[in-house]
């Protein structure tokens, strides 16, 4: 037998097939149990962790954004409120000032009026006093002139009437 041709390329060695089949199955079982499963699990865990942390970051970012928009909104509200308050205060102040001004005006007018009335009364009183004085003087003058005792009372009434007439003319 020619040793070169003892084994061809395409010969199937059943002993080898059995060995390879058994050992490959065994290797696969052991590798799956002790290498592939832990490695795949670790990779899966890592991917999950990365995914989770990315999601968390996204969530935190959106939360931060939300908070920031809320802050902005609150700031705007506060600004609006402060603006309103300022405006109200301004209005109030204006109103108060106007009121005061008006009241002061009214007071001054009232004072003026009262003064005028007082002056008028003073004047009236002065006038009446003057009239009385004038009438007394007139009566005295007349009595002296006449030297005659006329009824003082009657003369006085005549003078009063006369003064009244003067008043009425005036």
């Amino acid at each position: 037998m020619n040793p070169v041709l003892a084994q061809g390329l395409l010969d199937v060695d059943f002993g080898l097939v059995i060995w390879v089949a058994i050992t490959f199955a065994l290797f696969m079982f052991l590798l799956t149990k002790f290498a592939w499963k832990p490695i795949l699990k670790a990779l899966d865990d890592r991917e999950k962790a990365i995914k989770d942390s990315l999601e968390d970051a996204e969530k935190a970012k959106s939360e931060a954004e939300q908070i920031s928009t809320e802050n902005e909104k609150a700031l705007k509200e506060i600004e609006a409120i402060s603006h309103k308050i300022r405006k109200e205060a301004q209005e109030e102040a204006d109103k108060i000032r106007a009121d005061r001004l008006e009241k002061a005006k009214a007071d001054s007018e009232l004072l003026l009026e009262q003064t005028r009335i007082a002056i008028e009364q003073e004047k009236k009183q002065a006038m009446s006093e003057l009239r009385e004085e004038v009438s007394r003087l007139a009566v005295e003058a007349a009595s002296r002139i006449l030297n005659e005792e006329i009824d003082e009372k009657r003369a006085k009434s005549i003078v009063d009437r006369f003064i009244k007439d003067i008043n009425g003319v005036r």
């Binding site: 037998m1 040793p3 070169v4 003892a6 084994q7 061809g8 390329l9 395409l10 010969d11 199937v12 060695d13 059943f14 002993g15 080898l16 097939v17 059995i18 060995w19 390879v20 089949a21 050992t23 490959f24 199955a25 290797f27 696969m28 052991l30 590798l31 799956t32 002790f34 290498a35 592939w36 499963k37 832990p38 490695i39 795949l40 699990k41 670790a42 990779l43 865990d45 890592r46 962790a49």
Partner: protein, 354 residues
Amino acid sequence: MKFFLIGILYTLLLLTGFVNESKAGEAEENRVDLIGKVVDHYYLDFKPAGTIELPRIIYDRGSFHFYASTTRLINKSEHFTDAHYFGSTDMQEGNLKPSSYIIVRTEDGTAPQLDLSITSHLVFFWLAGALVFIIFIPLSRKYQAGTGSETEPKGALQNMFEVLVLFIRDEIALQNIGPKKYLFFTPYLLTVFFFILFMNFFGLMPWGVSSTADISVTAVLALFTFLATQIFASKDHWKHIFWFPGVPVPIKFMLMPVELMGLLTKPFALCIRLFANMASGKILIFSILGTIFIFSDLFGPGVAYGTSWIWVLLTLFVYLIKALVSFIQAYVFTILSALFIGLAVADHSEEHAH
């Protein structure tokens, strides 16, 4: 001009060297057995340092017979002998060397029932397996300790193999099998990929043998893929084979043998593709190097030496191609396995409404 000078120089060298060799007259002994370099052996070849004979395990007539080596078997066994020595008279000498390595029964010269001997391809298959273990068991420890699962992968080894593992999981298993079942088959695909890859790489090493250049080994690997497709096949898979949906009844009968044949050609193609690619690479390298000696015979030693640089460079090129092919074939086997598994386990009742 330069090469011509080199050619002349080589011729001068050869006039001293080759003459000596022809004086020795051992051309027959030095002849390289090309196919012998590719096929399986019952010894590990470390020429010129020598060979290591592997244990022989023979099952015959209900009992196992163990021998530490073929030499021991031939000299010690009463039951078996080398086919070369069967019937010869000087059998009792006890100092025989194995010749054909084919074991036959002493009594009638027929083969024993089953030869379970350890062969060189089996040894390198185991070496590839051991390498997978040596690399991935510590790596999985590392992952379990937290490096890579909680932190980033550290170190060249972990990074390098993680890329491959992720590639097989995401690009091969997930793409071909689908998100529902891919994780179940990923360990198988990983095992197949790294076994084939390391077996191919052993073929690139000096004195190394690539077990994938053996049809028995690739046949077993293909058989595993075939079994995976058949055991985990969906109902649709069987329906498509025996009663193809959506075609007239006569066509259904015609398609049945075609589909059955397709069932068997898939693993057969897997087996042949890997085997042929790996075996041809080695044969090609020997053939190209052999061209030098053929030229020496045809045109004289001067031409052979003068042109040898072409063949050496070409061999280097083929060697690099082989390194590439080692990867490609491991990838192709894995992706086709994934594809066939994916086809078999898929529930494609609604997709195939034709």
